[in-house]
């Protein structure tokens, strides 16, 4: 690579906009009058490297390269102005994106400074700075949807489908599973989601049952509690639960 680019150089940048801002600053370019041909050429060297290194952001760099080439092409085309109509510079959109990104990038510096100055102060709520911290005492009353989704993802990942050779078409509906859960809740004050899972023979049933729980949660037919992220979900009767 002719500019002696290294992996480090590229990873320094948060994305194509960040790289463009760097190139503009380095070459002392006027952001309102970016020499598109020059910057496209420099940019492409980096993109080549991103592809070679198979960085996960490579796609974003390629997309920007395409945008730059499109702008370059449009600037080469003669444009016929109709009447007094003002012709928009093909670079305008890119310039606006760069300026907007720059504002937030600057704010990020301030955020990093605030983080640094708060860093040495500790208080007794560790969730924000140590997500692995385990807390066995708390029962979260208001489980957020996000927590439930995470738990579901986690449980289903560990769910092994028993080996069967049946080819019968399984048919399970949401209504059926809502009925099934209501029945169980008539008899039991609490159900364990992990416990339910163990009873099912296919992933499909698990998914439909999970959807049934979400549906019932929405209608306040059930309440869901969880003592910890990834812990079992405890299902109990909600305010709209219908006793038969």
């Amino acid at each position: 690579m002719k500019n002696q680019l290294h992996r480090i150089d590229l990873e320094m940048f948060e994305g194509p906009l960040d790289l463009l801002l760097f190139l503009i600053k380095r070459d002392e370019l006027n952001i309102y009058d970016i020499p598109i041909a020059q910057i496209t050429k420099n940019f492409l060297d980096y993109v080549q490297l991103a592809k070679e290194l198979q960085l996960h952001t490579a796609g974003d760099f390629v997309l920007m390269a395409a945008t730059l080439m499109k702008i370059k092409a449009r600037m080469l085309l003669p444009i016929e102005a109709e009447g007094d109509e003002e012709i928009e510079d093909p670079r305008t959109e890119l310039i606006n994106m760069l300026l907007e990104y720059k504002r937030y990038k600057e704010a990020t510096t301030a955020f990093a400074a605030m983080e640094r100055s708060e860093r040495p102060h500790y208080y007794n709520i560790p969730a924000a700075w140590s997500p692995q911290q385990e807390d066995h005492t708390a029962i979260l009353e208001d489980v957020k949807l996000y927590d439930i989704m995470l738990t579901f993802q986690y449980l289903i990942k560990n769910y092994e489908e028993p080996l069967t050779h049946s080819v019968a078409v399984e048919e399970v509906t949401l209504t059926e599973q809502v009925g099934f859960l209501s029945g169980l809740l008539q008899a039991n004050a609490r159900l364990s989601f992990a416990g339910l899972l163990a009873k099912f023979e296919s992933r499909l049933v698990v998914v439909v049952t999970f959807l049934a729980i979400l549906e019932m949660l929405r209608n306040r037919q059930v309440k869901v509690k969880q003592s910890n992220l990834f812990d079992d979900l405890l299902i109990s009767r909600g305010s709209n639960f219908e006793n038969e």
């Binding site: 960040d18 796609g59 720059k102 708060e118 040495p120 208080y123 709520i125 924000a128 996000y146």
Partner: protein, 182 residues
């Protein structure tokens, strides 16, 4: 006053989130004398300074919380497996900055400003409770909307999102760039 100071101290030690005026009054019994929380905190702060405690009371997220003094960080780190607080990556900080100024925002809003996929940053920030999901957008696709949380204010030592440093206007940035060129 002395008894009230003790009550507030106990509440500050036990509270799971910054103690607000409203919460404090809700904790007091019917017949107890009520004084503004700020006044009591002021008294406690003076006591702590006099007796050189290892902690002080910080005004944060619209309430008060007890935090340790900076000089004890080296020792406190020993309590945690990951050598103290985990720092946020540049990508996570950028994402957080965009959400905090533009909230509520969708993932798409964030990505169109950053120009890169921001999935993993968002996940980190949600896991660390610095962001939360607050409903969905009305438009097509019903995209999730993200907001900053109380933990966000605590993490950055802010009283409210209004205390964030002002986002510079585009004109300021341009003016400065021109100066650079000259």
């Amino acid at each position: 006053m002395n008894e009230l100071k003790q009550i507030v101290e106990a509440l500050l030690i036990a509270t799971p989130e910054p103690l607000t005026e409203a919460r404090f009054h809700a904790c007091l019994g019917e017949n107890e004398t009520k004084l503004p929380l700020a006044e009591i905190v002021e008294g406690l702060t003076a006591d702590y300074e006099k007796s050189e405690r290892a902690y002080f009371i910080k005004e944060v997220a619209g309430g008060y919380q007890i935090v340790t003094r900076a000089e004890f960080e080296p020792y406190i780190k020993g309590l945690f497996s990951k050598s103290g607080k985990l720092r946020l990556s540049q990508a996570a900080l950028e994402t957080l900055a965009i959400v905090s100024y533009k909230q509520p925002v969708t993932r798409n809003d964030i990505e169109s400003i950053r120009g890169v996929s921001s999935d993993s940053s968002l996940r980190t920030l949600l896991d660390r409770k610095l962001l939360e999901i607050r409903g969905r957008e009305d438009g097509p696709g019903r995209a999730l909307l993200y907001r900053t949380s109380i933990e966000f204010l605590q993490y950055f030592g802010l009283n409210s999102v209004k205390d964030l440093p002002r986002l510079r206007e585009v004109e300021d940035i341009l003016a400065e760039d021109e100066e650079d060129l000259i």
